[in-house]
Structures are given as C-alpha cells and as structure tokens.
Symmetry: C2
C-alpha cells in the first residue's frame, strides 16, 4: 500500500472485506452486557427522540447527534416545527417530520439545537418557548447543543443547573440561573448540554452510552468512523489563539448582548 | 465556577463576553497572510461549492463539510439533485437548492457524500454517474466523503489515484483502479477523498486551508468549536476492537459485495 505523505494517517491496518455475513440480531447480540439486555438494545416499544427544528438553526448541531442516534434500534427521530413547511437552516433546507402538534406523549430524548440570529429569534418566540417547556415535561433526557442551551434557559429549565454552550455564549448562561461549565458536555440531573456545534457528536455518544451501554455506543462511533484528526488544535479559544478568539468574540458580541437581554425578560 | 466531575473537561478558561465589537472586514483582516490576500479571502466573484444530494445518502457526510465551508465569504453552497423534490436521507428530509440543470459553469469544490444502500443505488444510476463526470470537469477540487468515493470510482475519477473511503469499503477501491490509503483524508492531484462520515469535518478544514489559508481555517474550526473529545477511542476498527469491527464488517459484507459488483461493470 502506498502511503500518501500529505495524508493524515490515522490507522494503518484497514479491514480486509469479509465475505461472511451476520444477521442484525447476531450483530446486536455483541452489545448485550450485564446491565443492558437485548430488550434494552432493541426495545419492543418505539423510542422517540424529539429535535426542535427552526429557521436559522445551525444544521450540524442537529445532524451530528442525528448521525449517532439514528443508529439505535426501533428509535424514531422527530424533527418538529410550528408548521410542516420547509425550514432554511444555515446553508440547508430541511423538511420537518411533523409539527408541534405531533409531539409524542413519551419522549426518550428532547434535543434543542443552537444557532446565531435564528436562535435569538426563537428565544423571543413564546410559541417555541412553550413547546420546549411542554416537551421537557415529557422527556427522560432534556438536552441541547451549542446555543440551544439558551433556549432551555429561556424555558426556565437551567435554573440552578450546571450547563454549557458555545464558548462565545458562556457568560449568557448565568443570566438564566445556570452555572457555566467549560466542558464538552455537562450532565446535571436529566439535563445534558453540549458545547458548540461539533460537540453534539461527543455528547450524543455519551448519551447513547447511558441509553444502550458502552459496547453499542462504541459500535455507533465506529459506524461514523469518529476518529477525529483535525488539522489544527484550534477548536477552543486557547487553541485558536487570542487574536482569532478575541476577534470572533467581538464579532458575536452584539448577538450575545441581545441574547442576554432576552434573559433579563424571563420571568 | 463549579466543575462537574462527570463532565469531560476540555478547556478551563472560557472567554469573558466582550462588549467591544468588530466589523466583518476587520475580522476577516485577521486572516490575511503573505499568501492569501483579502481578495482571496473575500473574493468579488462568488465561489460555487456543489454537493450532490441523493436519497439514502448519509446526512452527516454532507452537513459536516457544509458546517465548515458555509463559513467562507461569498461562497454559495449548492445541493443538487435530479429534481427539485425533497429527498429522504438517513433520518432527515432535505430540499435540494436546485437540479442537475443548475450546475454552475465554474465550480470551486465538487463534493460527493456517501451512504449505504442509497449510495449503491446511486452507483447504478447512469444519470447520477454522468452528472458526477460532468461536474468533475468543471471543478477545481473533486472531493468525496465516506463511500462517496465509490461514486467517484464509478465515474472513472479514481483510476490510478490514491484514495480513501469508509473503513469497511477500503477493499472496493482497487476495483476502480484506486490505491486505498488508510487515512483521515487523502489528496492526489485535484482529488480529495475523506474517510467515513465524520472525517468530512477534518477533510473540509484541510480543504479550507488550501482555499483561504491556515488562519481562516483555524477560525472556522473555532466557530464550530471542533475540539473533539469522543468518550471512547472507538472510531477506527483497531480502536473499537475486533469483536465490534468484525461484526460490523460482516453486517456490511453483502453491501460491499454489491458495490464491488458495480465496479466490475464499469467500462
């Protein structure tokens, strides 16, 4: 095998393609543990994952966790919005699976993605905030990615909780009574919040571990070949360096001021 | 600040929110280097990024690179399909921005996402293969994520090239005359191929570096807070362990056999 000098070598022993096959049940049996039986892994009753979708949300906030959670057996992922009309996200138009009226009675995971101006508008929209509140009462896990946590905040769900968000929005969290934690994801009670955008993938794998155990979560990680090798160590303010981090913080400052303003008007 | 013991601590000095602002031009000026002028960073002429979209594609293959490349100034990202109808991807319905007839004359990046059965069907579809061939002649960079490289293969674009794909599909590549390279992404001439699903993010940052330089790419990385911290080291066959990797390879064996069959019929 020729090794490309310019390529980022991650693993050097690719699988030989096997001609042997395996049934789905045999495959899932690999993930049975002392704590998680086949009934947990492949439940008879459909698990419902509900993702709020809205104009201007950042698509990867939702699609990262989707890539992980869609791999769970008998799990229906809903993307719900006010209407059945298509939604313009950042560079992507998506069609909701249903409207707020299609909220299942019993929800395994509620997930709120973030964004910038679209999220600010959502924070100011009483219908959306009411939907988040109602959905949260039905959900086993109440979760967010990126500035989606600020929507949880407006809905009153972060009061007294440790939580995280996009690095640029950390100072907004205390305005909702939350304690900001600089972490990839934070769990406090049944609330799990993830850091910015791409953190949704790490968070979803951690969540899957809670739902179906570590072996299955490892399988989900292998399936999306999540063996990250970013070309730079620039995913945090410290790693990116002061010039870029300060510049971006200043670029987002007006948005963060407006998001903080919304927090001031929460009951 | 309270530190959550259960959280995955990644960076411990979150930015304080600044009240100072910066204009977009001032911000972009941070990224000017000896090699990349403001004209390169914010070109007067719109850059066109064309992503093929198709039923059954895996959404994250496309949305990962989208999250990076949508941050480029004056860059239009197209998602093109045969018709303007919405498309069911894996757990997500998207609306194309246009049809194959809307292919720009000059393309900066052509990107082909992958998938499983949907990709197999696309490989067997002469209209899609012809579109990939035509688009490639107009593109500065011809790229793929995951099994999208097999579509490049069917289109005859990997002949004599080093390339990569999802780990489970590595043995299909030689059937298109390509030399498989176990890497996160591989560059050979103007062809860049990325490994499975999530590798599209790493690849897109590397591609952005070529397009607008390292400082800007670092800014894009910070914006999506791509500071990965997967809960497990299970993103490669070796990391996931033999039981899971063998199991998954067997699960995919019938699909890979069919994909190899398509390769046998390529002229």
């Amino acid at each position: 095998m020729t090794i490309d000098e310019t390529a980022h070598i991650v693993h050097d022993s690719p699988m030989e393609i096997t001609t042997e096959t395996i049934t789905t049940e045999e495959y899932l049996n690999l993930f049975v543990t002392e704590k998680f039986s086949m009934t947990d892994i492949a439940p008879a009753e459909t698990r419902h994952v509900v993702m709020l979708v809205y104009p201007g949300m950042f698509a990867l906030d939702m699609v990262g966790p989707l890539a992980v959670l869609q791999g769970l057996v008998n799990t229906k992922v809903h993307q719900l919005w006010k209407s059945a009309d298509s939604i313009n996200c950042t560079g992507l138009t998506i069609v909701p699976t249903g409207t707020f009226d299609n909220l299942p009675e019993k929800i395994e995971v509620l997930l709120i993605p973030g964004g910038s101006k679209g999220t600010l508008e959502a924070m100011r929209d009483p219908d959306i905030v009411a939907f988040v509140q109602t959905a949260a009462t039905r959900a086993k896990y109440v979760t967010s990615v990126c500035t989606g946590s600020l929507l949880l905040g407006v809905a009153g769900l972060l009061e007294g909780k440790r939580a995280t968000t996009h690095w640029s929005a950390m100072d907004v969290l205390p305005k909702f009574g939350a304690t900001p934690v600089a972490a990839r994801y934070v769990e406090d009670g049944n609330v799990m919040t993830a850091a910015g955008v791409s953190a949704g993938i790490d968070f979803a794998l951690a969540l899957a571990t809670k739902m179906v155990g570590e072996p299955y979560a490892r399988g989900l990680q292998l399936d999306i070949e999540y063996d990250p090798a970013p070309p730079f160590n620039a995913g945090s303010p410290a790693g990116a360096g002061a010039a870029i981090a300060d510049g971006m913080a200043r670029l987002y400052a007006p948005l963060m001021a407006e998001m903080s303003q919304v927090a001031m008007h929460v009951d």
